[in-house]
């Protein structure tokens, strides 16, 4: 067990190295170097940037040097905790990313909890009442949930809320809390806004996970040990919850590995539609505005979160299911 975790942790720097290369390749993909296009854009807009400032930036990123030097400089800066500056925003990247990253993680966590809290009971219900009317209803809802792009759901819910109640449900904060420092009142305001994006983000995952739980539980319910427990006269609900459900839920934890990246990715589009101050819209703007070092850093952060999610789910799975011998695999 400890060996397994250690091994995975040792693999982490290696993965990060590869991801940093991928991110760097992505930010180098657009034609031209970003500084020249940026200066041209500024000049077209009538403003100009100080020549010494340009030189400083060129020097910082080693733009006149070969590719591997540029990569080295970028990674070197990152390792020192210097995420660089955004040219478009004229602010430090760490400043731009900081709070947005926090809000992204909060939103993702809420969606995750929502997903499990809804999907597991639905899965259990559908499996124990297989082919009942409600099972069919849930199955159909699951299919629809899977087929609906989440940004469309966001748009429809926003429209319904506006049309019927005259409220605009965008953003994560009321205007007066938008740039306010953190306080309990701000946390409360966040909680009163977060439920809608939470549901929107969680719907597709809920559908997927309810299906997984249902299928797993159905397998377990037909096993001899369930029959045995039933034969000795255990009440049905107690039996289901005590034995097969525990076995059926374990794989759900392993879904964290793919579900976390999916939530992060999916949140991106929803955030754009609902104008949420998360990291997604920042990435989109950085990509469109060719603010490439900001974009690269964000992509790297996404990769890091995804890898950490996979690691966490593997560890949780090993803890929950003692039959899995991870050391040998």
């Amino acid at each position: 067990m400890h060996w397994f975790i250690l091994k995975r942790l040792l693999l982490l720097p290696f993965l990060l190295l590869i991801f940093s290369i991928v991110s760097f390749a992505l930010i180098q993909a657009p034609p031209g170097d970003f500084l020249t296009s940026y200066v041209a854009e500024l000049a077209a807009g009538g403003t100009s940037i100080d020549q010494t400032q340009i030189e400083a930036l060129r020097n910082r990123y080693g733009l006149d040097q070969p590719m591997y030097v540029q990569y080295g400089k970028w990674v070197g800066n990152l390792l020192r905790g210097d995420l660089g500056v955004s040219l478009e925003w004229r602010r430090a990247n760490s400043e731009l990313i900081g709070e947005r990253l926090l809000l992204t993680l909060i939103l993702t966590t809420f969606s995750l909890i929502f997903t499990w809290a809804v999907a597991i009971p639905i899965g259990i219900f559908s499996a124990t009442r297989q082919y009942s009317f409600l099972d069919y209803v849930f199955t159909i809802l699951n299919y629809i949930g899977l087929a609906t792009p989440n940004f469309l759901l966001a748009l429809v819910l926003m429209w319904v809320a506006f049309d019927n109640f005259g409220v605009t449900v965008t953003g994560l904060f009321s205007p007066q809390f938008l740039d306010a420092p953190w306080s309990w009142a701000r946390v409360g305001d966040l909680l009163s806004h977060i439920w809608l994006p939470m549901i929107v983000l969680g719907v597709a995952g809920t559908a997927q996970i309810a299906r997984v739980v249902r299928a797993n539980l159905l397998d377990e319910l037909s096993k001899p040990y369930t029959e045995m427990a039933r034969a000795k006269g255990l009440p049905e609900w107690k039996l289901v919850l005590k034995y097969p459900t525990r076995v059926a839920i374990a794989p759900v934890v392993s879904t964290l590995g793919w579900y976390l990246p999916q939530l992060l990715s999916g949140g991106l589009v929803v955030s754009v539609v609902m104008s949420l101050p998360t990291i997604g819209p920042l990435l989109l703007r950085a990509l469109i505005g060719q603010d490439m070092y900001l974009a690269g850093t964000i992509i790297l952060i996404f990769c890091l979160l995804a890898v950490v999610g996979t690691l966490l789910s593997d560890i949780l799975l090993a803890v929950l299911d003692p039959r899995i011998k991870l050391e040998n695999s």
Partner: protein
């Protein structure tokens, strides 16, 4: 081997023994799944639309008319003043609201625009080479053609229904082409991985794990953002499919590898190897047929994912770009609350996305269940 062929020849001579091939068994099992069969029909209709959107459209999808912007959907009716009549739509009349300066459309219940089947409209080339001007539905009489918009018009006064028909072609084909590329990659790499095992297997599996750990959408966004703005529609189209396929093949490769691993130890494969069948013959004549149905099911389930991804990308303005028409490009018109409140019908392309993805998912699940001999 001689025994086996002799046995097979013998059974072929006896008319009483009817051998049902595996694909037919799969098909028979599938047809029991009513919903799956319905969805197969839906997918067939959508495919037909993608093949000949010109025939199904009622107006040229690229013709703009600023004066006819944001017309709400005109319902096709068969009752007029309480009497059953031939299908028609009410004429719409626009008037600018003096206070909000917004065009407001009202239906004029005194003027009826007849709806006809197989009417003549703008000319096009069916499948790119058959010249025609017949459309499934047309408005107005043969002598005086009129316009009608069953799904309303967009910001530029373009007919939504016709745009949807054309959008089907790009959205569906991007899904199919991207899946075709990733299927090819998945089968070749998964096959190599599963059949040969050892070091090759290890390397390919590590690459797959790495690709799966990368969050797809940010990477897709970055890749699409890197496409030069000057590229033509068809080049962008090709690039987007490749981008989608690049990260999409891993799941399929895993599936294929799993099948290969389990089949490699089967007796019939060992038998084929013992009689000296070549490796390609073992793979293509013995192993592939026994998991082809699984692959078909997996592919069917991969198409809707690709369609959704294209919609995401285009919706954000990083996928297909106007003048190309895809469902995602159309949904771009409905990107904020304001435009949705103004013209809710701009969300209709989303309904098409949902129906298509739903049908493909149910179809894929049905096929997978039917292909699995242990499913019952």
């Amino acid at each position: 081997m001689t025994d086996i062929t002799a046995g097979a020849a013998q059974s072929a001579k006896e008319p009483a023994v009817y051998v049902t091939p595996a694909w037919k068994l799969t098909w028979l099992r599938f047809t029991k799944h009513k919903l799956g069969v319905i969805c197969l029909g839906v997918v067939a209709v959508i495919t037909l639309t993608a093949l000949a959107p010109e025939f199904f459209s009622t107006a040229d999808p690229n013709v703009t008319s600023a004066r006819r912007a944001y017309i709400p959907p005109q319902v096709i009716r068969i009752f007029h003043e309480g009497r059953l009549v031939l299908p028609f739509v009410y004429e719409v009349e626009g008037a600018r609201n003096a206070r909000t300066l917004k065009m407001e459309w009202a239906k004029d219940t005194s003027t009826r625009v007849p709806v006809r089947l197989f009417a003549r409209g703008y000319s096009y080339k069916l499948f790119g080479f058959i010249p025609s001007d017949i459309h499934l539905v047309g408005f107005g009489s043969a002598s005086a053609p009129a316009t009608g918009h069953v799904l309303g018009t967009d910001r530029l006064g373009r007919d939504q229904w016709s745009r949807l028909m054309y959008g089907t072609r790009i959205s569906l084909s991007i899904g199919l082409v991207a899946v075709a590329i990733s299927t090819l990659l998945g089968i070749v790499l998964g096959g190599i991985s599963g059949y040969f095992g050892g070091l090759v297997d290890n390397v390919i599996q590590r690459i797959i794990e790495l690709l799966q750990a990368i969050p797809a959408i940010p990477v897709w966004l970055a890749l699409s953002a890197a496409l030069p703005r000057t590229w033509s529609v068809s080049t962008v189209y090709f690039a987007i499919t490749v981008i989608l396929a690049l990260l999409g093949w891993t799941r399929l490769a895993r599936e294929v590898r799993g099948r290969f691993l389990s089949l490699r130890e089967e007796d019939f494969v060992t038998a084929a190897r013992l009689v000296g069948a070549s490796q390609s013959r073992i793979i293509f004549a013995h192993m592939v047929p026994s998991f082809a149905s699984h692959i078909i099911a997996a592919v069917t389930l991969a198409v809707p994912v690709m369609i959704l991804n294209e919609t995401f990308l285009s919706f954000l303005g990083l996928g297909m770009r106007p003048p190309a028409i895809s469902w995602g490009v159309m949904l771009q018109e409905a990107q904020n609350l304001q435009s949705v409140v103004n013209a809710p019908w701009l969300l209709i392309p989303g309904l098409f996305v949902i129906i298509t993805v739903l049908a493909l998912n149910i179809l894929g699940d049905g096929l997978r269940d039917a292909a699995d001999p242990y499913s019952h």
